[in-house]
Amino acid sequence: MSNSIPFNLDPPGTYIYTGEMATKGYKLTRFGLSLRRPDNREKFLADEDAYMRAAGLSDEEIALVKARDWTGLLQAGGHLQAMLKVAATLGQNLWHIGAHNAEMEVEELMRLCPRKVNALPGGED
């Protein structure tokens, strides 16, 4: 995968979190944010399926979490900040999400970052 970065806001480069995404991913985001509480993190780790079913997630959403499919979760409307809490609870972090989004290994992404660009307003259209 190359390190060139497109100067546009289209997927898969960028997922803008709109109202439409917030509606689509409402339960997924709510589930992620429930993990702000340590007792919920314990419950989730003890039985992922049961916890997610109780949170009202669909079979598709549960499958995405079980696959640690961070890109799929963002596309399903899970907010990055909420999915980050899921990742943290599972012993992963922002780099795992980013690497999955960028279709790279974590180590490769870390090597490439910071991914330097140099453009001022109006440039690099």
């Binding site: 970065i5 509480r37 990055l80 900040q81 609870t89 660009v117 001022l120």
Partner: protein, 280 residues
């Protein structure tokens, strides 16, 4: 009446906070040492300014609020604000002290005169938006009372840059009618260039960040007039948080000195700080 003595703007990121804790325990990593060194003069400046109060415009990252109710503009009014658990436990820092009187005064003025309908939060947990940089600038106990104001930056629509600039102007008017002789600093935090999701993860536009820092004092309207999409396109989606900086700049006059600015790019977020003092 209370007086605004100056203001500063500073970046925030979760890693900035975690690296502080690690750095103080075992020494800073080569990536973060420059940020620690670069914020030393800010710490000295803040101690010299010795403000009585700080009004801090920041943004929450779904660590206190959730989408059941996500306010576009919210103000914290409480004797203290606890640290938010972001999902990986609390860091060893105390709660922040609040100023209830100033909080209500600002609310009354901003809602009734300023035209800014704030959501009032009498319980507000604060995340890395403030906790990540505060240790670099102030030793504990953190005894300078604050009024935190949270701006939605996590779900579009976010407030426009002009709106936040005007918000700053209204904050100024509100502070200047507060019956006290307090000396107040206005602070903004957010940005700079970064994007933490999508295939553009890790974008780093130092040129854009330095351009922004160079224009904030004397050419702020040029920055305010930039479409936020342009900041996001060039600096990453989270660079939109730079719009928060306009609230601080709007609260200051044009009769200011730029007393310090510093910039570095430690990992995946442009980290900058800039400080202004009112001459009057």
């Amino acid at each position: 009446m209370a007086k605004i003595i100056g203001g500063f703007a500073i970046s925030h990121t979760p890693s900035m906070g975690m690296e502080y804790d690690k750095g103080m325990a075992n020494g800073f990593s080569p990536h973060w040492q420059p940020w620690f060194d670069g914020t030393r003069p800010m710490k000295d400046w803040l101690a010299r300014m010795n403000p009585d109060r700080m009004v801090i415009v920041y943004n929450d990252h779904l660590n206190h609020f959730d989408f059941d109710a996500y306010p576009t503009l919210a103000i914290g009014i409480a004797p203290e604000f606890r640290q938010a658990d972001e999902g990986w436990g609390l860091r060893p820092f105390p709660s922040l002290v609040g100023d209830v009187d100033l909080g209500w005064h600002l609310t009354n003025k901003l809602v009734r005169d300023g035209g800014f309908d704030l959501t009032v939060c009498q319980d507000l947990a604060i995340d890395h938006g403030i906790y990540s940089w505060m240790p670099y600038l102030k030793d504990t106990p953190w005894d300078t009372p604050i009024v935190p104001i949270a701006i939605n930056m996590v779900r579009h629509p976010i407030p426009t840059s002009q709106r936040l600039y005007n918000f700053g102007k209204s904050i100024r008017a509100a502070i200047e009618s507060f019956p006290s002789d307090e000396r107040i600093l206005v602070v903004a935090t957010g940005g700079m260039s970064h994007q933490i999701s999508g295939a553009r993860f890790g974008i780093a536009n130092e040129k854009l960040d330095r351009y922004f820092l160079s224009k904030l004092k004397s050419y702020v309207q040029e920055l305010v007039d930039l479409p936020q999409e342009e900041l996001m396109r060039l600096g990453g989606t989270e660079a939109a948080e730079l719009a928060i900086w306009f609230a601080m700049r709007g609260a200051l006059t044009d009769n200011i000195d730029e007393v310090y600015s510093y910039y570095t790019f430690p990992a995946i977020t442009g980290c900058g700080v800039i400080a202004f003092e009112e001459k009057g």
